[in-house]
């Protein structure tokens, strides 16, 4: 099976996120990491390779030249090669799931893929749309929020999905799209020898503008701002004081 894994480069979630000075977008200065859900997808693909269920794992990312580093991280985890779709469009806001799905459709078709593994959402836009749109465009089955993936004897996949009501098991044929949830696996640490080896693995670069895909954003961000600062509470001495304060502030 040939597996395509999407990996997105995002701001490290342990950093405090700030709006830019103009309050039109997030300030992207700071350490970047692979989107944690994408990392889980990569780990799952590598485990499939180790179980001999996948023959080749291709890591795909979209973005400016720094996206290649995220692909390298996937290669260090064990992916065989990478595809970098080069663009200077902002991938956290302008390049939206519809466009991303179109790009992945292109890569899917060019590479005769059997399975696409994506993170269920990215931690910058929290859209949770790309996998679903892609499956619909490709007209293939989808299983989202996967917390377990098993292989049926007939070549189908049995995916356990985490849904509001609990866990749901679905059986899907390949080719298909699966989006990965938190409890699917624990991503491995990259071993130093593997990181060094990954430098020699191939990354194919495609220029987005040459792909003849409409990637115009359909939604426009009007304003980005910090949440309101929580004001401190006020200590009161007794119930009467509490009542009068509540009336004062027109709460009751």
């Amino acid at each position: 099976m040939k597996v395509l894994v999407g990996v997105k480069r995002v701001l490290d979630y342990s950093i405090k996120v700030r709006p830019n000075a103009a309050k039109t977008a997030v300030d992207l200065k700071g350490a970047k990491i692979m989107n944690p859900f994408c990392e889980i997808a990569v780990e799952e693909a590598i485990q499939m390779k180790e179980k001999k269920k996948a023959k080749e794992v291709i890591a795909v990312s979209i973005g400016d030249k720094t996206a290649a580093e995220t692909i390298r991280a996937a290669l260090a985890m064990g992916a065989d090669r990478g595809i970098h779709v080069l663009t200077n469009q902002r991938i956290d806001s302008d390049l939206q799931p519809l466009a991303v799905a179109k790009i992945f459709k292109h890569v899917f078709e060019e590479n005769k893929t059997d399975l696409v593994l994506l993170g269920k959402q990215s931690i910058d836009d929290d859209a949770n749309q790309t996998g679903q749109i892609l499956a619909a465009m490709l007209d293939v089955p989808q299983a989202t929020f996967a917390s377990e993936i098993e292989f049926a004897d007939d070549g189908d996949l049995i995916v356990t999905r985490e849904i509001d009501a609990g866990l749901q098991k679905v059986k899907i044929s390949v080719p298909s799209v699966i989006t990965c949830d938190l409890r699917l696996n624990q991503p491995r640490f990259a071993k130093i020898p593997d990181i060094i080896k990954a430098k020699r693995k191939k990354i194919q670069t495609l220029k987005l503008e040459k792909l003849d895909i409409d990637t115009e954003p359909r939604a426009k961000t009007i304003k980005v701002d910090n949440p309101e600062v929580r004001e401190g509470g006020v200590m009161v001495d007794n119930v009467d004081d509490l009542m009068s304060k509540l009336r004062e502030d027109k709460i009751i």
């Binding site: 200065k29 692979m34 071993k191």
Partner: protein, 504 residues
């Protein structure tokens, strides 16, 4: 703290002293007993007596027991002053009444120095938790002594600075206590000790005299630097109420790698290489052996990405201080440094991982920082903190392991860059108190003899407290101990401050 108490839950029924030497003949020295007049007086000199004078036994319980939950003080009262002036009033009164007291910070001490041995009054600094301010031109932060270290870390972070000291107990320990014990920790290798970084402090002497050295000028050679007497004095010469500390800048970027090795000669080669090649960028180097790794596997959910087959592990943290570049460039620079370093030491290192994000960074550090909890979960544990020649680390652990035979699991870990090893041994049989006591007589004073044989220190950073006071002579000459006694006599002639700690 609550989390630790849960782990140690099974030890709650123990009421014995942790060591034979801990069964001190408490010289009563003509101490008075707390009476109702005293209580009335305290209520009159402390603000908000309803919270600053604690008499309820349930509330006092946690102040009376140490972090190991092995010591049980019998204090009848905890006082929680809110200012230096109040501390002064309390001590003045206790001194005149010959009432013994124990100053207490975060109560995270590991050598029985911060809880009463009898019914001494506990003076807790936990209400004095104001951060006074940060002077960014000299990077000096001024705080009251009761500020929890984690709070200080959080306060300084937006300024781009950090405290020079950091340790696993950061969520509970207080900066005053850190000073009183001259706490070491994981940052000492790069940023030096608290003696080097304390610019000023305010301390109250046992007779109530306030020594105010808080002008805190970066350079001030005007007379004896008295503050250094109190740093590391373990609350026996005075109570520190305010501190002024020099803070280093938070590095532009940092990362951590975990290496697995099989021979200790190789560990030493990597240690030497790290100081040579990483030099200014090396911000921490920590060590743990196979048994510690297995203890973590058996008792915690923290897993080692390098597995459990190797004999030794080194945690190496590198930081980049180039603030003219952005974080991404610096992060890459650090990764490059690690790769180049790995190439230098590839003959010695079997395997290694580098953290790819903050989560992995914290995971690797947790693997080292929570070893003490691992041993405690495994069973009643002996814990030692020694300075030893680095090449003797494994030999020491082996000798101790042989001594305990099949009855305990023994491991060594710690701040290898500083020559500081923590040795822990958990008894097999979990909470078998009889076995623990039997093994204890085998270990002490034998283990201290061993430290002398290896020409080390019986306490690298944890201090003396009450556990090690009989052993002080092993690292300090008679003349030095006599001189220390003379200082104690000058400052505390009535011996009311933390009696029977440090000295016998």
């Amino acid at each position: 703290m609550l989390r630790y108490n849960k782990i140690l839950g099974f030890q709650k029924s123990s009421s014995r002293r942790p060591t034979l030497h801990g069964l001190l003949k408490l010289s009563q020295c003509g101490y008075s007993k707390l009476n109702s007049d005293d209580v009335t007086h305290f209520k009159s000199i402390l603000s908000k007596p309803e919270i600053s004078v604690v008499e309820d036994q349930d509330d006092i319980a946690s102040y009376n027991s140490d972090w190991w939950n092995l010591m049980r003080g019998k204090s009848q009262m905890v006082l929680r002053p809110s200012s230096t002036e109040e501390v002064s009033q309390v001590l003045k009164y206790c001194n005149s009444r010959h009432l013994p007291v124990v100053p207490q910070g975060g109560n995270t001490g590991l050598v029985g120095g911060s809880v009463p041995l009898n019914d001494e009054i506990i003076i807790s600094l936990n209400r004095m938790n104001q951060i006074i301010g940060f002077d960014s031109s000299f990077s000096i932060v001024k705080t009251q002594a009761g500020v929890v270290l984690q709070r200080l870390i959080d306060y300084l972070q937006p300024f781009g600075y950090m405290p020079p000291v950091d340790l696993g107990a950061r969520g509970s320990c207080q900066i005053g206590g850190n000073l009183a014990t001259n706490a070491g920790g994981i940052k000492l290798l790069k940023y030096n000790s608290l003696h080097a970084n304390t610019i000023g402090l305010k301390v109250v002497l046992p007779d109530g005299t306030i020594l105010d050295d808080m002008r805190a000028l970066r350079k001030d050679n005007t007379g004896y630097h008295l503050k250094h007497l109190f740093i590391g004095s373990e609350g026996t010469l005075g109570i520190i109420t305010e501190t002024a500390i020099l803070c280093p800048k938070i590095s532009a970027a940092s990362n951590v790698a975990l290496f697995a090795l099989n021979s200790f000669d190789h560990v030493q080669e990597v240690l030497t290489a790290s100081k040579e090649f990483l030099s200014e960028n090396l911000t921490a180097i920590e060590y743990f052996d196979k048994e510690c790794n297995l203890i973590m596997k058996d008792n915690t959910k923290i897993f080692n990405p390098l597995g459990y087959a190797h004999n030794y592990y080194l945690l190496i943290e590198i930081s980049n201080f180039d603030d003219t570049s952005d974080v991404e460039t610096n992060t890459k620079a650090i990764e490059q440094k690690f790769f180049k370093f790995f190439e230098q030491v590839s003959d010695y290192v079997q395997d290694g991982v580098i953290a790819q994000d903050k989560f992995q960074f914290n995971s690797i550090w947790e693997l080292r920082e929570r070893i003490v909890e691992g041993f405690v979960s495994q069973g009643l544990a002996f814990t030692y903190d020694f300075s030893l020649p680095i090449d003797k680390f494994p030999a020491f652990v082996e000798r101790m392991s042989d001594r305990l035979g099949n009855h305990a699991r023994t491991g060594g870990y710690g701040h290898i860059g500083d020559g500081n090893i923590h040795v822990q041994a958990s008894i097999k049989g979990h909470d078998d108190l009889e076995l623990y006591q039997k093994l204890e007589t085998k270990l002490e004073p034998w283990v201290f003899d061993l430290v002398e044989e290896f020409e080390g220190s019986i306490s690298a950073e944890h201090g003396i407290g009450s556990f090690k006071s009989p052993e002080l002579h092993r690292n300090k000459s008679d003349e030095m101990i006599k001189t220390m006694g003379q200082m104690k006599q000058i400052f505390d002639p009535n011996r009311i401050l933390n009696p029977n700690k440090l000295f016998q």
